[in-house]
Symmetry: D2
Subunit: 121 residues, 4 copies
């Protein structure tokens, strides 16, 4: 289990075969100074899907570089789904796309690249 | 005050004139499945410095697109400083750089672009 | 017509309705010091698809921030297709995804955000 | 020598010790459909500085993921300097910052991460 997303109320729906799906409902603890969901909360949702997907391939994967694009503000009570898919899987690196949706609407888009550690000999 | 970074123990050291400095000590609630600081926690630290710096210019600024590069793992007890500086300030957009350091060591680097809302007429 | 992509041999297959498709064959002039296609050449291919797609919406669009992920090396003689699709279209900003493929294989992935200028009054 | 930047008139001022400096004057062949320097031309300038800096460390380095932020339009006749510096150098990865300036003015900012190949045994 991953303590940080767990404390934020993020639930794992699925993880495996280079994919992952996590979900959370936005509450008062997740807000920024403008009263909408904090960028760091939305990012953590995407980042956890990314971590689960990239670590489902049998080797330890660590984030190198990620991008997040924010499209629409998110309010208290909104339920968000983050789904990670694999864009590319190589021997030493992999790249994943994570969509954050509120029902069918895309509210943010994440792209992340991992380094895949060499297994112990 | 910003609820999400507040709940995570992030302290504002300074904000103003396109700059900001925030600080946090990593605790057990901030970890990922590998027992090191979660990428989302590090990101939130940088993102809050970015939000404070970009909103210190008199207009409401919202994040459009950000990048985070992770260099070194961070452990429980580490104290992290995130400092935001302005790379570019235009009429409608601005770009900021945020360095996350553990003492003098750079552990992650953030680059973010905001859209600056038009003031009400 | 756009002089820079034209000089590089980039051909426009389609542009309109937030989408674009361009194509080029890699030749000796496009290489880097290692004898494979230069990152700047691949980027230009994606960037031109991005420019055509984002400027097909009736307002002048300028690039703010872009990301490029490189997956596979590209050699002389390879024919590359870059196809841009719209991830998000707002009033003042838009985000596009561009896939660069060699036949069916994804060799690079581009994500870009534009600022949409206000039309003259 | 690197054929693609060479064909574009990019001159190497310096490369070594994790740094590089390249220069070019913008001409009619470098323009986009709006009559200003094409994003792909500016990117290639930054990317070449990045390649030279990251390959100056004794191992073969290949680009994984890069970001470019565009701040100001560039016109024919403008002379641009791109200077790359090392943000982080690890065993298997490295991150570089490249500033593109017209005299003292920052016109674009590039951040790039490389994978460093293992030397042959």
């Amino acid at each position: 289990m991953s303590p940080f997303p767990d404390r934020l109320g993020i639930e794992v729906i699925h993880a495996g075969d280079g994919r992952a799906h996590v979900r959370a409902a936005v509450n008062d603890d997740h807000l920024n100074a403008h009263g909408i969901a904090h960028g760091g909360f939305l990012f953590t949702l995407a980042d956890e899907a990314f971590a689960l997907a990239s670590n489902s391939r049998g080797v330890f994967a660590v984030a190198l570089s990620v991008r997040m694009d924010y499209f629409r503000p998110v309010a208290v009570g909104d339920v968000l789904d983050a789904e990670a898919t694999e864009e590319y899987l190589g021997r030493r690196v992999g790249t994943y796309r994570v969509e954050i949706r509120r029902r069918r609407e895309l509210v943010a888009l994440f792209t992340g690249t991992v380094y895949r550690m060499e297994p112990p000999p």
